[in-house]
Subunit: 353 residues, 2 copies
């Protein structure tokens, strides 16, 4: 073919840069850097002179500055895993909510390599009264709601911070992490939504209290009530979810042909056990074939099912994933004011002719 | 800035290639080739050995093959003009319709240069009984609905074909037309939706009847009734229309600040006379400031208006354009089965904090 045809990132905003992965048009198990979705809270940081050092401090026996080169010589792990923005699919909520109108592509996966954080904490020591670990990035900016300049910072409960799969990553797909995705160092928290995986990691602080930063207590909180925060609770583990990659929504497809309906499914808890597909608005659910289930616990699972439209007409095709924790995509997503964690049954409409 | 941030085309399908211009993120009056939307009915053609010749035949005094080089030596015109796909904004129809789910970006503008078609018809002569002129492109493919391999072909009424602004174009923005946009020769029909501007132009045939090709009689027809073609009529002139480029829909904006609301407006009939903007769901309409009105009759008009949100809350911002033919964007677009010509009042929602 003399003429190449490529998909592109889908731009949601330029400053800060927020762009989706064209997930419907990609089939590779490791998303290349140029197709990895970008989600920023501020302009890109200008790393300072100490950016190649990672300071671990606070409630530790001994504060330590770990140098980038030194980190690379420590025993590392590689994880092929999903990173998904908590706002992925936000545009699908009804009533509509404010914020970046992500469709299906605020998700990517690839191989992250780094040192388990617990290795570093074994060096610094951990005080017995530590409750949380706070991660601060080099990215800062003014928030208009509180009219303050703040860094992007998030905390993890100590237990999650100590999990051997919580990494201080320095490579993506075998190469140094691209700057826009957190170079030189990025926290990687498998199974949690992307806000936990702090980019351009600057400091790690152990505290004996509950972290109250705005990206922990204002954003990344489920507010199921429009006008009250009584029932609010924090965003953490990725919901069980899926997408139908093919065919495309509202496409016109051939009547006298067998079609491959395909997509991916993922979860932050265990792994994907089942994907069910319906062609009649949920009366009958057929079992999709899962492939690459054995890859890694944190990666997505590919699925497909063959289908021949029984007659000319319009069809709703639905898919729902079930994970090993027994969670299943619900008919209706939990509406919440800031639009996080949308995971209703995946649905497209096609017409045959 | 060490880190460039670019918008990208928005992919609707890869084969055939259909990609939108990221129109919300572009402000230039001539869209560069890489950002020009792509709309194809088939795979890209493989031009044959005669592709540098344009054959004009049928009901003419004398058939003539015009060579590409010869055409470039003839007197030419340059037009800075809008090309808009008839399906632009299709995704906004309610009830939803099938086909590419274009949002706002199946539109671009730039400078096309070419020879008025009437110059060529003066060479060939036109039989007195000619009613239409048929334009056939090199792109062909199988249509599943009629199960036939057909070329992309469209006709114009003789009168429109003879209009001095109907061009056989060979340059876009001062350079040979990019292959994906019709190289070597493209018909350019200002003021009509894009389907009329046949790419990879192969033959021009004058006929004494009404052309019945499927892209004239099945597609590019308004069907206001779902189940009947009684009230059907062909798609031709571009409707009066506009978009709000900034702010972005569903964005959260600063309360204590003056915002510039800006966008573009265009029409296929005359030019844009007025753009009105409402911040209160249509009770009060304020007049936007128009710039570059004097550019060319076929180009879009930029507009903007300053606005300071009166209080914290949610706002619907609407814009409607009025053209010199007295047409105004309606509250509700004319629903039609194939989803052409959407031009309801432009609308976004923002929240202030």
């Amino acid at each position: 073919m003399p003429y190449r045809v490529n998909p592109y990132l889908i731009t949601r905003s330029l400053h800060p840069e927020n762009q989706e992965t064209p997930i419907h048009f990609l089939r590779q198990p490791a998303i290349p850097e140029e197709y990895f979705f970008k989600r920023n809270h501020f302009f890109y940081p200008v790393p300072g002179q100490n950016s190649y050092q990672l300071q671990v401090k606070g409630k530790v026996t001994k504060s330590v500055n770990f140098h980038y080169d030194e980190l690379q010589r420590m025993p590392s792990r590689k994880l092929k895993m999903v990173l998904e923005c908590a706002g992925n699919k936000r545009s699908k909520f009804k009533p509509k909510v404010y914020g970046e109108q992500w469709e299906d592509g605020a998700i990517s996966q690839g191989e992250w390599q780094g040192i388990p954080l617990n290795t570093l904490l074994a060096v610094t020591g951990v005080d017995p009264d530590v409750r949380e670990v706070v991660f601060e990035g080099y990215d800062t900016g003014r928030r208009t709601d509180i009219n303050e300049v703040v860094p992007f910072a998030r905390s993890l409960p100590l237990q999650k911070a100590l999990h051997p799969d919580t990494l201080i990553a320095y490579k993506y797909n075998g190469k140094p992490i691209p700057f826009k995705h957190g170079f030189p160092l990025r926290l990687i928290v498998p199974g949690w939504y992307g806000m936990a995986s702090v980019k351009w990691l600057k400091t790690i602080t152990l505290i004996d209290e509950t972290f109250k930063g705005p990206f922990q207590t204002i954003d990344y909180v489920y507010y199921p009530d429009e006008n009250s925060s009584l029932k609010a609770y924090p965003v953490s583990i990725i919901n069980v979810n899926s997408i139908i990659q093919q065919p495309l929504d509202r496409s016109v497809i051939e009547q006298d042909a067998e079609h491959i309906i395909e997509g991916i499914a993922w979860t932050g808890k265990g792994d994907i056990k089942q994907v069910q597909v319906s062609f009649d608005k949920g009366k009958v659910w057929r079992e999709a074939i899962l492939t690459n289930t054995s890859s890694t616990a944190y990666g997505w699972t590919k699925w497909h099912i063959n289908w021949k439209p029984p007659e000319i007409g319009e069809y709703t095709i639905q898919a729902r994933a079930v994970d090993s924790a027994g969670r299943r995509q619900p008919e209706k997503a939990l509406w919440n004011k800031k639009g996080y964690g949308f995971n209703a049954v995946s649905e497209i409409n096609v017409k045959t002719e």
